[in-house]
């Protein structure tokens, strides 16, 4: 893991990781952006993150537009934030944009990620267990962490 710090010189690696984990735990939904021939397309998805922050997980049926989009363009972006729709959001809210590659999780990795996912969203069990539902993961390349309005950090997980 590597940092590109902008605006600040010194970043407490551990503290940032903890902040991301806390944010991800506090939010049930994320905005997922896929694209279709260059046309971006956003959705709300119930998500969770793996403990090492390398994966963001969500579920979708295979008949959806987002699933089809990912099939032709796996590069996606996700946004997780804690805004509360108040003016104070400008200094208080934190928003994290993730970029990476999305794919359906198969094989042994699925069990572990499924467990993580259902621990956070137990009420989605029937949905996720349907044979028509795909468990998806975004293998994150970078997190763009925005706080205090203009404070932006980039957390690189992959080159």
């Amino acid at each position: 893991m590597d940092f590109e710090a902008r605006e600040v010189k010194v970043v407490d690696h551990q503290q940032l990781t903890l902040q991301l984990k806390a944010l991800f735990a506090s939010q049930g939904l994320a905005v997922l952006s896929t694209s279709e021939h260059g046309q971006p397309y956003c959705n709300l998805v119930a998500f969770s993150s793996s403990d090492d922050l390398k994966n963001l997980v969500f579920a979708t049926t295979r008949a959806t537009r987002k699933f089809s989009n990912i099939g032709s363009e796996p590069r996606v972006s996700m946004l997780v934030d804690n805004r509360s729709n108040k003016v104070s959001d400008f200094h208080e809210a934190m928003a994290v944009t993730a970029t990476g590659n999305a794919s359906e999780v198969m094989g042994p990795a699925r069990d572990a990620l499924l467990k993580v996912y259902l621990a956070k969203h137990p009420h989605l069990e029937d949905f996720v267990m349907s044979p028509t539902c795909a468990l998806m993961r975004v293998e994150v390349d970078r997190y763009y962490v925005v706080s205090r309005f203009q404070h932006v950090m980039v957390l690189k997980l992959k080159e």
């Binding site: 049926t61 008949a63 009420h123």
Partner: protein, 744 residues
């Protein structure tokens, strides 16, 4: 906070924590009235369970799949069954178990207890709806007790409670359920005291049975009844019951046992005991300040009050249709009697009525006689439709009774697993389809037959003609899809041709066999309970089979009405299009009543022309599997005749007259909701993906739309994969729903 509190503490805890039943028992006990030894599990235990397990959100999801006003009663039952299944399959968190275990074990030890609902508000005088929630008698041991607490919690969401959700203020995030645990009294006689007779407010009523109260409450045992003067407690009248049985504790739960011969001629109460119960009832009324609906039981000389709640202003008679729905809930005994009546009397009568009606003679009737014939057939259909509503629909409860019993015992992940145990090749519609398929198989091998069928002339194929005749003898012709099709067999020819045009055939029996499932089911019962388990299965199978067949029997009568109407329309010519079926006899007698103006055609696809379109519709998963195909909206018999193999059938409701097209469908989408309805049953039989209960399905989906039908999740997606759509110049996305609703 204590989740389990003794009766002495309920007053302090308050009715919102202990529920109405426990609260009034607390008051009775504090005034020295004898009540069973009781503990109360507070609403906080329910809240803790429902919140910490994610159940609350799952219930919300279930109940918000569609607008309540779009839900049929059958769908309420289905929703309730699924919620119950969630409770059955969701264990209590260990922290909660720890908190409940110690006080309950300490208080009851090995004693047998009754686990009863005590919902806050349930017994208040504003909303007294007796019997919405459940009670379980004769439960012993801490784990069975904990298990039954969950069942009582689940009954907060019973179908009856959902029916009265508005009156009850039922709400996922605010409603809760307390539970009372009562030591089971060794009941010799039991009953109710009704402090005010709904028929005459100056009277009170006592009902009494031998054994436990359960028999009286659920209608399994007929009670003796006394009418009492409220003013002086004197007996006005005594109606003796035909005393046959009583409910007694079994190895677990209660069982109905025959009454010992020496008790048959003896009323359960003598006059002195009647007086004693009246005195008790009046005393309790004095305590609460209003006439009471009080359950009591006697063990030796001791009289116990089991519960008391105010008599509601309107009595128990609810004037709306919901009372009819609730009356559908039948006991096993009642259903067994109904079964005999249907199979031995009603079905044979329907068959013979249908046979007696002769359509060949219709052509020879003059217009007046034809009008009379139509009227008499209308009346006949109405009569049998009433019979259908009064007897056949209630008998469908047999499946439901079994479904609950199966789920309570076997606890499957899929709450509809029991349906696989009921499947039958013996349904008329399935046998009929098999007959069609056999004919189609012959046509596939001999192409010259296809031409002959298309021409409607089988004279050169006597062997095949003979087979067609035996089919027609057994099943009759398939219902006409075009008015005026009088030539026998023509509809069948057409359908056989269609079946022949596709390769694969037959129902795809999936997975485990019925025999295997039956063995598996019976494994759950000790020897002494096996006979009952088998009997209930037999009843449910009959219910499943008749639920389907009865439609066909009814249709065999209705088809004759249609034949008579068709004859009339033929005579009236094109003018007939301006006359509704109801006015046909009048028009026959006096054609001048027919309006000269063509009524404006009703616009069925009101949505057409709007820029908004639906992308995804949600119903109930009623047949598992997934399929993509072109939609064929079938809203009339004519449209059914245009149905091609591989299309997705979209309709208001599949009735048995349409069943023979089902094997050709890639999937089925139905507006009418329910898991146990005809369309769902047939789709399951053929392993065809099916989604039912899609509001406005026939208006929102258009013939030609590409549909993906997800029969696992109950989702219908309209439109092709987005790639194709993009090249075709995409339009508005995700009609109104959050594009990702499916992931929410």
């Amino acid at each position: 906070m204590n989740l389990v509190i003794p009766l002495q503490a309920v007053a302090e805890a308050g009715v919102h924590r202990v529920g109405g039943k426990a609260f009034s028992l607390g008051i009775l006990a504090s005034r020295g009235i004898r009540v069973p030894r009781t503990l109360c599990v507070t609403t906080e235990a329910y809240d803790l369970y429902a919140r910490s397990t994610g159940l609350l959100e799952r219930i919300s999801l279930e109940l918000n799949r569609k607008d309540f006003s779009d839900m049929r009663w059958e769908e309420l039952w289905d929703a309730s069954l699924r919620i119950r299944s969630m409770f059955l399959n969701t264990a209590m968190p260990s922290t909660l178990v720890k908190k409940l275990m110690q006080p309950i074990e300490e208080f009851f030890g090995d004693a047998r207890v009754a686990v009863r609902s005590s919902a806050p508000g349930e017994d208040s005088s504003e909303a007294s709806f007796a019997g919405l929630h459940e009670s379980y008698l004769n439960v012993a041991g801490i784990y069975p007790i904990l298990d039954h607490i969950r069942l009582v919690w689940a009954s907060l969401w019973s179908d009856a409670a959902l029916l009265y959700r508005r009156e009850l203020g039922l709400d996922v995030h605010h409603s809760s359920m307390a539970v009372t645990l009562q030591e089971l009294v060794d009941s010799e006689r039991s009953g109710v005291f009704f402090g005010r007779n709904p028929a005459d407010p100056s009277q009170a009523v006592i009902e009494a049975v031998y054994g436990l109260n359960q028999g009286l409450v659920d209608g399994a045992v007929e009670p003796d009844r006394w009418i009492i003067h409220r003013s002086d407690g004197s007996i006005i009248s005594h109606d003796a019951a035909v005393r046959e049985g009583r409910m007694v504790p079994g190895p677990a739960g209660v069982v109905r046992a025959p009454l010992p011969p020496d008790l048959i001629s003896v009323p359960p109460l003598d006059e002195g005991e009647v007086r004693r119960i009246v005195e008790m009832g009046m005393r309790v009324e004095g305590l609460f300040g209003a006439p009471q609906d009080m359950e009591w039981t006697m063990s030796g000389p001791d009289l116990y009050v089991l519960q008391a709640r105010p008599v509601t202003a309107g009595g128990s008679g609810q004037a709306d249709d919901r009372a009819w729905y609730r009356s559908l809930s039948r006991s096993y005994d009642n259903l067994t009697r109904l079964w005999a009546r249907i199979e031995d009397e009603l079905v044979p009568e329907m068959v013979s009525v249908a046979k007696r009606l002769d359509d060949h003679g219709l052509r020879d009737l003059d217009d007046g006689a034809l009008a009379r014939e139509i009227e008499s057939r209308v009346e006949l259909c109405a009569l049998w439709e009433r019979t259908y509503r009064e007897h056949f629909i209630p008998f469908a409860q047999g499946m439901r009774l079994f479904g609950r019993f199966y789920n309570d015992t076997v606890r499957p992940q899929d709450p509809y697993e029991f349906m696989d145990l009921l499947r039958s090749d013996d349904l008329i519609s399935i046998r009929r389809n098999r007959g069609i398929e056999d004919l189609a198989a012959v046509v596939r091998k001999d192409p010259s037959l296809a031409g002959a069928l298309a021409r409607g002339d089988l004279s050169r194929h006597p062997g095949f003609q003979q087979r067609v005749r035996s089919f027609l003898d057994e099943f009759g012709d398939l219902p006409c899809s075009t008015p005026g099709c009088a030539r026998e067999g023509r509809v069948l020819y057409d359908v056989v041709l269609r079946h022949a045009s596709r390769h694969d055939a037959g129902s795809q029996q999936s997975g485990r066999t019925t025999e295997y499932l039956e063995e598996y089911y019976l494994l759950f019962f000790p020897d002494e309970q096996q006979p009952f388990a088998r009997e209930l299965l037999r009843l449910a199978r009959a219910s499943y089979r008749l639920r389907d067949d009865d439609n066909i029997y009814l249709d065999r009568i209705k088809v004759h009405l249609k034949a008579a109407l068709d004859e009339a329309r033929k005579r009236l010519g094109p003018r007939a299009d301006r006359v509704g079926d109801d006015d046909i006899p009048r028009a026959l007698r006096d054609p001048s009543i027919i309006s000269p103006v063509q009524p404006e055609a009703e616009c069925v696809h009101a949505q057409a022309g709007f820029a908004v379109r639906m992308r995804q519709l949600v119903g109930q998963p009623a047949g598992s599997g997934i399929a993509t195909g072109t939609a064929r909206v079938v809203s009339s018999r004519q449209e059914l005749s245009a149905f091609s193999p591989g299309e997705v059938m979209v309709c208001d409701a599949i009735d048995p007259t349409m069943t023979f097209m089902v094997p050709l469908a890639a999937a089925i989408v139905e507006r009418r909701g329910g898991m146990l309805i005809h369309g769902a049953i047939i789709a399951r039989e053929y392993g065809i993906p099916c989604v039912t209960g899609v509001p406005h399905a026939v208006e929102l989906i258009r013939t030609g739309d590409v549909l993906t039908v997800d029969g696992y999740l109950g989702i219908v997606t309209i439109g092709e994969g987005t790639l194709q759509e993009a090249t075709a110049g995409a339009q508005g996305h995700g009609g109104g729903c959050l594009g990702g609703t499916e992931a929410l």
